[in-house]
């Protein structure tokens, strides 16, 4: 997968996702294509067109990438063992957002969590002026909880589980 060819001195990150209750997730190759693909999910505030996407009003973009997995092999009498990378899963993104029952994005997330089988394309966009670097991935949503504790604003927490190998980088 090609890495982005931009360097952003400073950026603000935002998260976007396909609109539509039953979207057709991008194929893996299209996740790395900005023009007419990823740009359609990313809104104009992040230099996209936003025709097929909605923003996710979340507190913070969580860590994303790949979980660590390794196997250790020891040999009797040897000072060091082998610690070899093995198949590992993409990092799940547990996200907190202010609960707004009118927010289109959160309602889609809730519907996805209820279904459990909807693949949707998500985009994390890092923006600095007119430059955008986008990390797009396909994922399913699980665990949608609303916390209505009276001492603070109501919050919802959900987890996006990326599909294995289905990601791509693109940039403007």
């Amino acid at each position: 997968m090609a890495a982005p060819n931009k360097i952003l001195p400073g950026f603000s990150a935002s998260m976007w996702m396909q609109s539509g209750a039953t979207p057709t997730a991008f194929t893996t190759a299209n996740l790395a294509v900005w023009t007419a693909q990823v740009a359609t999910i990313v809104g104009t505030s992040a230099n996209g067109t936003g025709a097929a996407g909605v923003p996710l009003a979340i507190e913070a973009v969580p860590a994303f990438g790949q979980d660590d997995a390794s196997a250790s092999f020891s040999i009797a009498g040897s000072r060091q063992s082998d610690k070899i990378p093995v198949q590992s899963a993409p990092t799940s993104l547990t996200i907190t957002a202010a609960w707004n029952p009118s927010d289109a994005g959160l309602l889609l997330i809730r519907g996805d969590a209820i279904s459990g089988v909807i693949d949707r394309t998500f985009v994390i966009a890092a923006v600095d002026g007119v430059s955008t670097i986008a990390y797009a991935f396909n994922g399913r949503v699980s665990q949608f909880q609303i916390d209505p504790a009276p001492g603070a604003e109501a919050k919802c927490t959900f987890t996006v589980h990326p599909r294995g190998n289905q990601y791509g980088w693109s940039n403007t």
Binding site: A2, A25, T28, A29, N30, A32, V33
Partner: protein, 59 residues
């Protein structure tokens, strides 16, 4: 398999396209001559085919 067919397979894939590109039987010289519009899925696919099918050295 032609390069065009291989590109179609990669573009349509929801799997690991690195793995798909590595396993498709294509002619390295045909891959070397192929071109694709930048910032398209076809360009992504062709780049992977070129990665795993380097041009043969002619004497």
């Amino acid at each position: 398999m032609t390069v065009d067919d291989a590109i179609k397979v990669i573009v349509a894939s929801y799997g690991d396209i690195e793995f798909v590109a590595r396993t498709l039987p294509v002619d390295a010289d045909e891959v070397a001559e192929a071109t694709a519009e930048p910032d398209t899925a076809e360009a992504v696919a062709l780049a992977l085919l070129k990665k795993y099918n380097p041009p043969t050295i002619k004497e």
